[in-house]
């Protein structure tokens, strides 16, 4: 009896330890207390190929200058990895392209090699902050790109602001660039569309269908909450009622409670705010439980991982996203078409797969970095000023950017198209046809 009690007590002690230990890996939400300080961000194994790029041997008149250092951190691993990996690949590919062409021609007329210091934040905002601290303190980067998840991008704000290093985020939450009072964070820019224009496109579709009652369900993190708030605002403006609003925790794979409640609320359509890690299981269970209301996702699920995981359940899903997924179905005179076509061709040639809109966000950020360095050289404050004032009608992958002091995103609703998934393919939906889908 006594022995068994001892075992039980030991087991309970261990159990407590396990619970304490699992707090870090199982929750993705930004909890500053959760992660121990020693867990440092690991530099991605695919270290910047840029540094090894062959030097140009021809062109003897070129004068070499000091290298320009850029910091980068993406989620190569963890739940956001299906978004982060194409971003890493894109950033490395572009640095290699720049360096193959001799480097970046600075305002001093010399050619400067572009060195990218790449880190993996493991989809963890705490590790993202550690990576950025390294980038500004030991790498002394001039400018930073990265932040795959909204949580990570928001978390590093304080660090980059204090260090006065401009940061171009590749995540979508409005909180990344916008302060509570509506003004913009001085040192932070971002390339993906905000969640509000995404919600507005969804609302356009709802209006075309004549729907007035919707359910809104999203992941309980920075991205999901921002997207849900955007939907609430856009729906309120359009006099559409949210008959159900609910959240699920990051990395959840059981959604029976939410789907049951949605069924009881009987909406006319269901709007989901998630990335493939949760969005795909949700979609599968939604179909399994036989719900027939049209399913609309937001731009978080726009990559092949969603279709691969959800398989046939993805059929019929609608979502707004940048043009890259359906560029082959858009008008030939679309101003973005040449840029996007070239990016797709380069990416396919190097990685033998089709890039996603997320890789496109990294392309835009890297291109802005290049333009800024060419114009102002190695000066973080001048790079910031350039980004805020000189990015005008810049044709990128995600849209045509015009950034100013009041808007550090620079693209809006016009850069989004509605896409429907049909038999594992992306299908462009013309606004004229909104009433006909799904």
């Amino acid at each position: 009896m006594k022995n068994k009690l001892n075992i039980l007590i030991s087991a309970l002690a261990v159990f407590g330890l396990l619970l304490a230990a699992c707090a870090t890996p199982t929750t993705e939400a930004p909890k500053p207390t959760a992660a121990p300080a020693q867990s440092t961000a690991v530099p991605a194994t695919k270290a910047p190929e840029a540094t090894k790029a062959p030097e140009p041997t021809k062109a003897p008149e070129v004068v070499k200058g000091d290298p320009y250092t850029v910091g980068a951190f993406f989620s190569s691993t963890g739940p956001a990895s299906s978004l982060g990996q194409p971003e890493v690949d894109t950033a490395n590919m572009m640095a290699e392209q720049f360096n193959k062409a001799g480097g970046i021609k600075g305002p001093d007329g010399k050619m400067h090699e572009l060195v990218v210091k790449m880190y993996d934040d493991q989809s963890d905002p705490t590790k993202a902050v550690e990576a950025v601290k390294k980038i500004v303190e030991s790498d002394k980067a001039l400018v930073i790109v990265g932040g795959t998840s909204s949580g990570a991008s928001v978390a590093v704000n304080e660090t980059v602001t204090k260090a006065k290093v401009p940061f171009i985020s590749v995540a979508s939450s409005s909180a990344i660039v916008t302060k509570a009072d509506g003004s913009q964070h001085e040192w932070v820019f971002k390339t993906p569309q905000q969640n509000l224009p995404v919600a507005q496109v969804q609302i356009d579709w709802l209006k075309a269908k004549g729907f007035t009652k919707i359910a809104s369900v999203g992941v309980n993190d920075a991205f999901g909450k921002d997207s849900m708030a955007a939907m609430k605002k856009a729906a309120g403006d359009a006099k559409i009622t949210l008959v159900y609003e609910g959240t699920f925790e990051p990395k959840t794979t059981d959604f029976s409670a939410q789907i049951t409640a949605i069924k009881a609320a009987a909406p006319e359509a269901v709007i989901v705010h998630a990335v493939p890690a949760e969005g795909a299981p949700f979609t599968v269970q939604y179909r399994d439980l036989g719900l027939k209301f049209p399913l609309v996702h937001n731009h978080g699920i726009g990559n092949q991982a969603f279709i691969d995981t959800a398989k046939t359940a993805s059929n019929g899903v609608l979502f707004p996203i940048g043009k890259i997924l359906v560029i082959d179905q858009l008008a030939a005179n679309d101003p973005q078409k040449p840029v996007i076509d070239k990016y797709i061709a380069d990416y396919k040639a190097k990685f033998n797969k089709v890039p996603s809109s997320f890789g496109g966000h990294a392309w835009d950020a890297m291109m802005m970095v290049k333009m800024a360095l060419e114009a102002v050289g190695p000066d973080s404050a001048k790079i910031r000023d350039y980004l805020e004032t000189k990015i005008v009608k810049f044709i990128g992958i995600s849209g045509i950017f015009t950034i100013d002091a009041k808007d550090h995103t620079g693209i809006g609703k016009e850069s989004l198209v509605m896409v429907q998934i049909k038999d594992g393919k992306w299908l462009y939906v013309d606004p004229k046809d909104y009433a006909k889908v799904p």
Partner: protein, 310 residues
């Protein structure tokens, strides 16, 4: 106020999830009764069984996309091999971890199982990455309607197979020679040894049996809730709570405990907030420990701890 349909739906989902906890808890009880070890790598067996079955039955990218498995074997074969690989790992864990440390304190042996679970989780992470995977449902088709609640075909499989596994396990313990030997060595190890029952073999069989049981649980639930590399820890903890609810040594109690746990979780998530799902599980644990150490099921307080009988 939730409708009766909603309640029915939540209870059905809870029973589906609870069936899995019940199977894992049964594995805990079997190992504990025979060897006195609380095996915290129980949940990893479920993960490995499910991942092996998924890999053999559908197209899967392995090792960061460097390898593609597209064997697409029939599901029963894939499931069988999934169970077999978990059994193999269970046997290895016993031979390499538990048996050499048999003279160490129970706490040390528990730590061995935790170490094994962390290593196994790392291995799964390396091979399959962080993406959620889904096993194809056993049978395709529209779900059933049960008093307004939706019952998917896979849920029927989960519940049906759980009943089959539990019943056959009891028959095994009651009527086969090995089953009787297992019971004997848990009831009185000394006397069992005098009767010529080798406790090492019994420990080995207990680990193999529990690993297989957990792997089956992982495989039947993978089409419903997907499988991710880090599910094992939570499955272990939930199975452990179910085991404690049932009074630590009582297999019937473990099954009932698992089912109650699943339903409570589902109701908490559906009626209060999905964020409270796990909080309720652990609140139950505290209550059970404070109020009734012998578990919910046995009326005789503490006796279950004393009488280690299957």
């Amino acid at each position: 106020m939730p409708s009766s349909e909603q309640l029915a739906q939540l209870i059905l989902s809870g029973i589906t999830q609870g069936s899995i906890y019940a199977l894992i808890a049964l594995g805990f009880v079997t190992i504990y009764n025979v060897t006195g070890v609380i095996n915290f790598s129980q949940g990893e067996f479920a993960v490995i069984g499910a991942f092996v079955a998924i890999t053999l039955s559908q197209k899967v990218l392995l090792w960061h996309g460097q390898m593609t498995a597209s064997l697409e074997w029939p599901l029963p074969v894939a499931a069988l091999i999934g169970v077999a690989s978990a059994v193999l790992i269970g046997v290895l864990l016993y031979r390499l971890g538990i048996q050499p440390s048999r003279n160490a304190s129970p706490l040390s042996q528990i730590v061995v199982t935790i170490g094994a679970s962390i290593a196994l989780r790392g291995l799964v992470l390396l091979a399959w990455g962080t993406d959620p995977y889904r096993l194809t449902p056993f049978t395709e088709g529209p779900p059933f309607d049960l008093m307004g609640a939706i019952l998917t075909r896979q849920s029927v499989w989960v519940m049906g197979l759980t009943v089959v596994f539990v019943v056959s396990l009891f028959l095994f313990f009651k009527y086969t020679l090995i089953g009787k030997a297992l019971r004997a060595s848990s009831a009185n190890p000394g006397a069992a040894r005098l009767m010529g029952i080798n406790p090492r073999w019994m420990g080995l069989i207990a680990f193999a049996l529990s690993a297989g049981l957990s792997a089956l649980a992982g495989i039947v639930v993978a089409p419903v809730t997907f499988m991710t590399f880090d599910r094992g820890l939570m499955l272990s903890l939930k199975g452990f709570v179910a085991m404690i609810m049932g009074g630590l040594t009582d297999p019937v109690g473990a099954v009932v405990g698992g089912l109650i746990l699943g339903v409570v979780e589902s109701l908490a998530a559906g009626l209060i907030s999905s964020g409270y799902r796990d909080a309720f599980t652990f609140a139950i644990l505290v209550v059970v420990l404070l109020v009734r150490l012998g578990g919910f099921i046995k009326g005789r307080k503490g006796e279950a701890l004393e009488r280690a009988g299957l």
